[in-house]
């Protein structure tokens, strides 16, 4: 069952130099309990996608030109800001940010910030049942027993040692790995249906990163939460994702179940990415050229200026979607088979 279905999504950023075509007719979906990796280089539109789904695109510059995002049968783009705030953002859809340090408020303790999330959830839940304020709200102080119990329970889940003490600490007193774990706990606390994880392990050491990934995988499977996992690291994607989608310059290039993705990479760009990974066997290979500017991007397939298998068609029109293996789709005229 799909919980998120994006169709023909096009997003522009307006700048002084012109419109940046950040997403171009993107089709994408996530099933229930599925972890989908969105992989690509910086500037390819991964984070824009995450932001558009959570409806946190910068208002002044970002514009959703066309398309629809259907989330649990409802078009998110048609909902008002108020509705989004009340039911979706921070509730049904939560975000795990890249750098846990800048996303915490440095002047409040972990416990206070955690309880804010839980309180918020409670108040909103109440509004739905009649719009009255929760009479218990006043009691919902971080020291209140019920709240404390919930926080400790969540912190325990993410393996924070002695949570009853840690919840009174400030963000700077925790190590990077612990901070990211608290972030995960906070993102999962409202029991969302979809978590958007934007490069959650980039700021961490490999050993700690591996721990955090394992934890995220376990918890989301346990809660049956779907995850949109944004990363530029194919190795990390391999470890955690059920399905991997590759983006390049705002377009989807290839999407496949993880095993099929690494066994039969079909798109020339995917091949290029995999070849540029450091491998113990031999020399590294690079992709010729640089990422194009997204103001006036190349016509047709946006990868064509760098593509070794380019044919005339590529410069003119966008390749149609092809399903080469089960669930393995490619946008390319000349895929590797």
């Amino acid at each position: 069952m799909r919980i998120l279905d994006i169709e023909g999504l096009t997003v522009f950023y307006h700048t002084d130099q012109g419109a940046v075509e950040a997403l171009d007719e993107v089709n994408f979906s996530i099933g229930k309990g599925e972890i989908v990796g969105l992989v690509g280089e910086s500037g390819c539109g991964k984070s824009t996608m995450g932001k558009t789904i959570a409806r946190v695109l910068p208002e002044s510059t970002g514009e959703i030109v066309s398309g629809s995002i259907s989330f649990q049968g409802e078009d998110l783009l048609k909902l008002s800001e108020k509705e989004i705030n009340r039911r979706v953002r921070g509730r049904a859809i939560t975000i795990i940010p890249q750098d846990p340090f800048v996303s915490f408020n440095p002047v409040f303790t972990i416990g206070t910030q955690f309880s804010d999330i839980l309180k918020y959830k409670l108040v909103a839940g109440n509004r739905k049942n009649g719009g009255r304020k929760n009479p218990l709200q006043k009691l919902m102080h971080p020291s209140s027993k019920e709240l404390k119990k919930q926080i400790i329970q969540m912190l325990n889940r993410v393996q924070i040692p002695s949570p009853e003490k840690q919840m009174y600490k400030y963000p700077h007193e925790l190590s990077g790995g612990q901070r990211q774990r608290v972030m995960i706990a906070m993102a999962l606390a409202p029991q969302p249906s979809l978590v958007i994880a934007d490069e959650p392990t980039t700021a961490l050491d490999v050993t700690i990163g591996a721990q955090v990934l394992e934890l995220l995988k376990d918890l989301t499977k346990q809660f049956q939460t779907s995850v949109l996992f944004i990363t530029h690291d194919l190795g990390v994607a391999y470890d955690i994702c059920d399905r991997i989608t590759v983006m390049y310059a705002g377009q989807i290039m290839e999407s496949a179940p993880t095993d099929s993705f690494f066994k039969n990479p079909c798109h020339p760009y995917t091949r290029g990415l995999l070849d540029s990974l450091p491998n113990p066997q031999g020399k590294i290979q690079t992709i010729q050229g640089d990422i194009p500017s997204l103001i006036n991007p190349p016509k047709g397939c946006r990868f064509h200026p760098r593509c070794p298998r380019r044919v005339d068609e590529c410069t003119e029109q966008r390749p149609e979607l092809k399903e080469l293996f089960a669930n393995h789709i490619v946008h390319c005229f000349k895929p590797f088979l």
Binding site: G177, A210, H232, D233, D239, T286
Partner: protein
């Protein structure tokens, strides 16, 4: 393979401690042992890799080599001359030959200066070249790192992350250094850009006959580029040897776990791997005995009492562990199955 007169840098039991002061009265109440007795040799045109988690002392060590920190004990020998504890004036002159590439090149370039001015600055400070000679040199270097003349009048913010790394490198190469220390040369770069930077590093090494020390926590990077690798844990080297041996036959449990946690497509997934439990203890109170004991799956009584030191286990391969013989493949397999 290497001869003694090829030795370019040698560290002899280098220690760097930072005092911890009490809030009141500022009395010293302890030491942070950031670098605690490190010795290794780097050979001319070799590449040495330093690996370890954040806070293990990699950067402090590099800064000590540069002369930015004075070691509390031990010696740093560069080309047969001791360079630790020399006068700051002398150290500054030496810095022409030993250069340090910062992790974030973008942040170390002055945003108000054009590329031309940035690249000329080291020449103006350290050499007595004429203007036209400087122009020539700047252009040659710019080309060597794969950029062109048209970039000369641009400002740092106009470049991408990969280009900034190139510029950072160019700036260092203008002085013809012999030893370059890289602090996380590819951190924060995309794989395709990372591949290009690595290619560039290889080419420059050939062209300018350079010696590299590479600090990184990216093991797959270390694996392809370094000849020798030293694994650090809490201020000490736990394993050192040729890269091939370290990766193919790691003896220290920490090294093994590090290698196991590299996210790499095609590896055993999830439950097949052994992950490191917990986080490194604080440098303020290092446990007696082996520093790795509280995270080690093979801990024995001896590890809690006696501190291990580096022992040669094969040619060009030293390990600091009491139990290295015991945890051969057999023990490792059973541990994985238990998990």
């Amino acid at each position: 393979m290497f001869r003694v007169d090829d030795l370019i840098l040698s560290l002899d039991n280098v220690k760097k401690y930072f005092p911890i002061k009490s809030r009141f009265l500022k009395r010293r109440i302890g030491w942070i042992k950031a670098v605690d007795g490190i010795s290794f040799n780097v050979f001319r045109e070799g590449v040495m890799g330093l690996v370890g988690e954040s806070g293990c002392g990699k950067t402090t060590l590099a800064k000590t080599i540069m002369g930015m920190h004075q070691p509390d004990e031990g010696k740093v020998i560069f080309k047969q001359g001791v360079i630790s504890k020399i006068h700051p004036e002398e150290a500054r002159k030496l810095r022409r030959q030993i250069q340090y590439v910062y992790q974030d090149s973008g942040a170390s370039l002055d945003p108000w200066w054009t590329i031309e001015r940035l690249l000329r600055e080291p020449l103006v400070i350290h050499t007595h070249l004429s203007d036209s000679e400087m122009d020539e040199k700047v252009l040659a270097i710019l080309e060597a790192v794969g950029m062109s003349e048209e970039h000369l009048n641009c400002y740092p913010h106009e470049f991408s992350g990969g280009q900034l790394r190139r510029l950072g490198l160019a700036r260092i190469l203008t002085l013809n250094p012999e030893l370059i220390i890289f602090d996380e040369p590819t951190a924060g770069l995309d794989v395709s850009v990372q591949a290009k930077i690595l290619e560039l590093l290889e080419n420059l090494k050939e062209a300018f006959r350079l010696t590299y020390i590479i600090i990184s926590h990216n093991l797959s990077l270390i694996r392809i580029i370094c000849h020798h690798t030293a694994v650090m844990y809490l201020g000490k080297i736990v394993e050192i040897g040729t890269t091939q041996r370290i990766f193919e036959d790691p003896k220290h449990p920490y090294t093994r776990i590090l290698i196991d946690s590299i996210p790499e497509p095609g590896r055993d997934r999830g439950n097949q791997r052994l992950l490191l439990q917990g986080e490194p203890p604080s440098l303020e109170n290092i446990p007696p005995g082996c520093r790795f004991q509280n995270r080690c799956p093979f801990r024995k009584e001896r590890c809690e009492k006696e501190e291990p030191f580096l022992k040669e286990v094969a040619q060009d391969h030293m390990v600091s562990c009491h139990q290295w013989i015991q945890h051969q493949n057999q023990a490792w397999q059973t541990l994985r199955l238990v998990r």
